[in-house]
Symmetry: C3
Subunit: 270 residues, 3 copies
């Protein structure tokens, strides 16, 4: 029998002891649990960025308790939640702010929702500003330890869960309007558009493209991978998340185009 | 029976192989050990910042060997130490520079001190500039593996341990003088003052405050959590460490106030 | 019996889910595997920096599958490889771009080379830009799980492996010409020169030195460790990798000298 798994994503960063403390809490409550860090480098308070990283990661994670904390509303009236899914071995735990919606959809959506804010597992008194340590980590560990979710919170209708508003790409005659959803460590831009939308906008694989954004405009090419573009040139491709993305070969598209997360991009055949 | 635990904190950062190499050394000497990283993002050579993070983290960590290395004096005459505490399952290992003093106090103070610089476990010859790998990690792993601490070093009086000088907050008529002890990834400032000192200085929870620092001054509010302050406004609150802290809602207090670790702050009722 | 070990180095960084996803893939394919992260902070696309970190780390790592991915050519015709070494318990897995050459030499060089690009373990269809997840992690996990390497790829001559070009230090009359190979989180500069070359250039341990680089020049001292130099002064020493290195005591040599990775340095007796 494998160890129970807790996956853990947050915007806590790596500068201080926040992530380590949550590991400690989980290890104390469920010593057998194996913790897999998804990332803790989500931009501070970027719930949407966290939701996208979680959606991209969970299909590759063993079934278990999926703890995710990006929580600008910590200490407010926002709920703390544990969700069940169509996969009875998978639970989603964290603040009720939409962070889990994209990931839950992968497993049939949130089946049941439990308010865990007053769970008997909560470390008391919980700090008003660190529910990761005092609420989410101990409840996640209890779930990993086999405690029934019904004993960890109060049932409420999943329809009451906070939804996350996401931008939507659109195809116009001869153009695709997309939005930058995230920027990785290489400066590559992942968008909200699926690659087939670029085909719908009249751009064939291999064709030259023209990109317009707030920071200016640039010519590039729609290719399969980095090596298909000349060093220093802009390329448009399908990234590991299955999304249309922009990169500069051996460079940073974020810097070259001067764009930020949330910016709109217009892509056309050249 | 649970696996033996080694917790690990350092200022090695994440750019290179230093942390990974120490994990490897521990895994070779004590394959059963579970390593929990507290953080490796302590500012380079910031012994005081490391001491505070360690103190904040250890109450949440399983008992075990607590390895911590922030070591600007590596290779000099400073001692390498292993400390016992009132909890016979907890050991503190690292350079003798005060890094462990705050954490040791949580467990009754250093009960016995051992100089491990010439331990039979040391990788020989130890590099003059990487005692984390060659001295501290192997000794920590041997302790986790059950070797008696008496066999790992020479006893010396705990009174000879290097102490760490810490700033002290003070209450003056109508004002609290505090100091910035650390800045987290959100730009929140944790101080050396306990929240009740602000009450003693005449500021009630919910009241408006005025903060003066080297970078200028700003008005804010003494509240319970981030959501109690308007977006972009300054707030003063009790943080997860139990310390009085300053934040800017959805922003960075460090940037807004222009302060650094060690800076003095004056807080008054407005 | 210890758990099988997979060590993992990459330039994926800590901002997004790339590292976590690879952990998930390995945990699903070989739940018993223990994963040791060497570092994921290698500079983007810096194959040489990755090769040096891998060489510095592997002597301290338990035998196992050594996964390393710095892969600017992902999706191109470059091979994906698994290498065997003289140590039958050690395998090296990743893109064929020289990243493994320095590390393989530690274990007698690449004994056999297997092209794993069409391994039955590959997640299909592999994304053109994320072979870490779809090719390297699953093959590494299968090796850790005990699958014979012959079943994971097609044998080809190790002589066909891509070699990495490395700079070479040289001693001239009264001077050592060295190159900056990496810069750590403290701003310390590790060079391609062994410390004995400085002795050959006429600089004795303890002597004053003069360093010339693109950013200017500076005086310092050839010492054993940081504490042997005055605060704020430049020192030259043998670092944890066994290489000649430059540091500024309680400061950053990279900043003070204004140098970057790859820069040439000239060191002379003052």
């Amino acid at each position: 029998v494998s160890a129970p798994v807790v996956t853990f994503l947050s915007d806590y960063g790596y500068e201080d002891e926040f992530v380590g403390v949550c590991h400690g809490v989980i290890a104390q409550r469920c010593p057998a649990a194996r913790i897999i860090d998804v990332t803790h480098g989500i931009r501070a308070h970027d719930v949407r960025g966290g939701a996208l990283a979680l959606r991209a990661a969970l299909p590759y994670m063993p079934a278990g308790v999926h703890l995710a904390v990006v929580d600008p509303g910590v200490g407010s009236e926002r709920r703390a939640v544990a969700l069940t899914t169509d996969d009875p071995r998978r639970f989603l735990v964290g603040p009720d702010n939409g962070l889990r919606m994209e990931a839950a959809a992968l497993f049939g959506g949130a089946r049941e929702a439990f308010d865990i804010g007053r769970s008997p597992e909560v470390l008391t008194p919980p700090a008003a500003t660190f529910h990761g340590r005092d609420v989410f980590a101990p409840v996640a560990a209890a779930l990993a330890d086999g405690v029934a979710v019904q004993r960890l919170g109060e049932l409420f209708p999943p329809a009451d869960l906070v939804m996350l508003e996401m931008p939507r790409p659109r195809v116009e005659p001869g153009a695709l309007i997309a939005h930058v959803l995230s920027i990785d460590g290489y400066g590559n831009l992942s968008t909200d558009a699926a690659p087939h939308l670029l085909l719908e906008a009249g751009v064939a694989l291999g064709a030259a493209i023209f990109v317009v954004c707030a920071g200016g405009d640039a010519g590039g090419r729609f290719v399969r991978t980095f090596a298909d573009a000349a060093t220093g040139s802009l390329l448009c491709y399908e990234d590991g998340r299955g999304a249309l993305a922009l990169a500069v070969s051996s460079g940073s598209a974020a810097t070259c185009l001067g764009v930020s997360v949330g910016d709109e991009l217009t892509l056309r055949a050249l």
